[in-house]
Each structure stands twice: as structure tokens, then as C-alpha cells.
Symmetry: C2
Subunit: 243 residues, 2 copies
């Protein structure tokens, strides 16, 4: 049997379509196997095309990686931010957002982020894109936090208590740190509790003041995972990809 390669594309596409199909293939590949998997030959095999053609459309691999990174994380950010629910209050929305970001079905995007920090330190094209995407995340979260403060009867009285800017920094750091940890299957038993504590920290409000049941526990997975436990051999690839 062949590997999970897409069917061979019809030959001789118009350039825009081929370009699109190559980008799509690279995005899917990186979402499944990480940015390190973005090889000329691997992308070519995925798209069903010759390595030379990939190199023809994207002559410099280094910047292609940066482009794929941007595509993946921008799509994810749009998706997460768009899940905002106007029918409930902002604090609950924030809590749900945090729980979404901590969900370990998102390990694929987490891998892309973690690799981007390592690769971006020496690949300046990538580094620039990484900073840009993080700025966008920061702005979005800062906005949500600021609105949550204004909406809150207690915090509203004390406008200097919470600085949305630094709160957004902290939130990003916590979420990114936990996502990185989950890549090696190191995660706390109770993720829901951790989300509550995270929101409590972000809003500078005691933990007991954060509502307990944000999501009505979609699936009945209770025991989760022990810190130092070994997962079954090689967990293979995470089942869920980006789109």
C-alpha cells in the first residue's frame, strides 16, 4: 500500500491552481507532521508531483516554510477567535477560549508553534512571521480582556487593577507553555481546573470567583493522563489535522 499521499493531480494545471495545490499540500503535511517535515520531496510526493516542480514554484525552501507557518496559524487563530459566543458573558467566553486552546486535540498546531520558535531563532524570514502572528494573537486577546473588564461589575470599579496588555502576555505564555508540554504528553490531571486558574490569573481575580462549569463536559473523559506516564509506544500521528 502507498503512504497517505493525495491522488496524483491532473497534469498541466494553470499556474495559480498548481501553486494553490502545492501550498495546500504543504499546509496539510506540516499540520500532520510539523514544519520539519516540509521537504521539497515530501511536499512533492504529497501533491503528486515532481520535486522539481515544487522547487520551481517555491525556489527557496526557507521562505516557503515561513509562508506555510503563517497560513496554518492564521487559519487557526481566525477559527478560535470566531468561536466567540455573543449570547454569554465575556468571562465565560474567555474561559471557553482557554479551554479550547488547552485541548490536546490541537497538538498539531502546537507542534507548528513550538517548531516555529526553535526554527525562527535562526531563520529570520520565519522569525519575522512568527512575531507578526503573535502580535495578532496578543491584540485579539488584549481586546477580549479589556472588554471583559469593562463588562465586569467588580473590575470595572478598579480600572488600574488589571492591565489588558500584560494580561494578554501572560495568557499567551501560559497557553503556549502548556501546549508545548502536551507535545511530550506532560499534562496535568485536571485541565478544566487549570483553565479556571489561568483565567483567574489573567483577570487577577481569586480562583474561587471564576465560574466552575464553563463547558458542560462534552465527552466523559475523566481521568485524563498522569504526568510521568508513558504513552503506548509510539502514539503515531495525532488523528486530527487542520482542516
Amino acid at each position: 500500500m502507498e503512504t497517505t499521499s493525495r491522488a496524483a493531480a491532473p497534469r498541466r494545471l494553470p499556474p495559480e491552481e498548481r501553486e494553490r495545490s502545492i501550498l495546500d499540500g504543504a499546509v496539510a503535511l506540516a499540520a500532520e507532521s510539523g514544519l520539519e517535515a516540509l521537504t521539497v520531496r515530501a511536499v512533492a510526493a504529497r501533491v503528486g508531483v515532481t520535486p522539481a516542480l515544487v522547487a520551481h514554484y517555491r525556489p527557496v525552501m526557507e521562505s516557503f516554510v515561513a509562508e506555510v507557518f503563517t497560513t496554518i496559524v492564521a487559519a487557526e487563530r481566525d477559527e478560535v477567535i470566531a468561536s466567540y459566543d455573543p449570547s454569554v458573558d465575556l468571562r465565560t467566553n474567555l474561559l471557553r477560549l482557554i479551554e479550547t486552546l488547552l485541548d490536546d486535540s490541537r497538538d498539531d498546531v502546537a507542534m507548528v508553534w513550538v517548531q516555529s520558535w526553535a526554527l525562527g531563532a535562526r531563520n529570520e524570514a520565519l522569525g519575522t512571521r512568527v512575531r507578526t502572528e503573535m502580535d495578532l494573537w496578543h491584540s485579539a486577546l488584549e481586546d477580549l480582556i479589556a472588554r471583559a473588564i469593562v463588562e465586569d461589575p467588580v473590575l470595572r470599579e478598579d480600572p488600574l487593577r488589571v492591565d489588558p496588555d500584560s494580561s494578554a502576555w501572560m495568557l499567551l505564555a501560559m497557553v503556549d507553555g502548556m501546549s508545548a508540554h502536551s507535545l511530550v504528553h506532560w499534562a496535568p490531571r485536571d485541565r478544566a481546573d487549570l483553565a479556571r486558574r489561568t483565567l483567574s490569573a489573567v483577570l487577577d481575580v481569586p480562583v474561587r470567583d471564576v465560574p466552575m462549569p464553563a463547558t458542560p463536559v462534552p465527552d466523559a473523559a475523566q481521568p485524563a493522563e498522569h504526568p510521568a506516564e508513558h504513552p503506548a509506544e509510539h502514539p503515531a500521528q495525532p488523528a486530527e489535522t487542520l482542516r
Copy 2:
């Protein structure tokens, strides 16, 4: 001129010494350039020896990487934990520890950690070691936090308020997230303020209750770094290595 390679070692060392020199060279190399730089040839050049000899002492590169990782992060953890100062209170000690961990002169160890999360997802030998080292970090921090709570007149009254276990999880996540971000030079203007907010979150205490001047500002670096600013071209390697 040659690259920054160590002087050629005298020939025919006793096996323990050669083994030690190879490990030392690999540790220094990984601390400077990351775990990805650990190739048979690079280590050999560093030690001043033939690639075949490195392969002789460490026949499987994959597990050698895991060993080097452990050596580096264990040394760093010991060093940081040992900087505990019994002459001041625990809250101040915690604040200093956080400031130490956030200091960007530690980008070399941060790179090792970030790469370990990415590589550890598929290299199970490494993944196991990563979880072990993180468990040790978690225990150490949990212990410090628990003692800080007992020592604190307010928190002592309310023993259920702060759970040292989950606080340690949060602290690790925040510190690791910020360290990862700093690899691409994405860092908040005021790191000292961020350390205060982090401690506030960990102890579940309002920010205003965390003491302001923890370190008397060793150097006069004030403006620090703007989020989206581009560093000068290639910042080369960070000057400071592990030992």
C-alpha cells in the same frame, strides 16, 4: 582561522576520559547551538576527534541526544534551585527565581527545552527523559510554593486557597511559554512587572500585594525590547553558554 573548536585532545585517552570529553563537547555544543546541532561530525570536530570515534562511544545518536539533554537541563535546574537565599523570605525567593528564569541570557537553555518538546514528540527515548526532568522541576517548585504558603500569614489562614501542585503547573507553563517566545525575540517591555504578575498568579494573590523591588536592578537596562521590532539582522549565537 579555524572555527571555535576546542584544541585537539591528546591521543589515546583511557576510555572513561574520552567518554567524558565527548559528552562535555556535546553538551557545550548543544548549549551553544541547540540539540539539532548534535551531529556525529559536529561533536567530533568540537572534541577534536574523528567522527568514527564519536560513533564508537555513542553508537546511536538518538539516545545520545537524550543524554545530552538531561545533562544540560539537570545542571541548570540544580544551579537555579541552589540559588535559594535563606536570608530572605520565600516569597522574595520565588520572585527572584522567576526573574532568573525569565532572564533572556538563558536563551541557550530555552532553546534546548523548546527543541526537546518538538523532538521528544517523536523520539521516545528523549520524550521519556523530558518528562522526567519536568517532573523534577515540578516537584521542586511545588515544594517551594508549599513552603511559601505556610510561611505567609495570610495564605496560611486559608489553606485551600492555593494548591501547590497546580500552582507549580502554572508557573512552569508561564515560564516555559515566555522562554519560548523570547527565542524569536518576542518579549514584553517590562519583564520585572511580568515576574510580579506571574508570582501573583501562582500564589493567587492580587498583584498589588506582591513586593515591587525584588532584585535591585543589577544593570541599568531599562527600555529592553519592543514586541514586534526586528533585531539587528542575525543576532548570532547568544554569548553565554552553560558553564
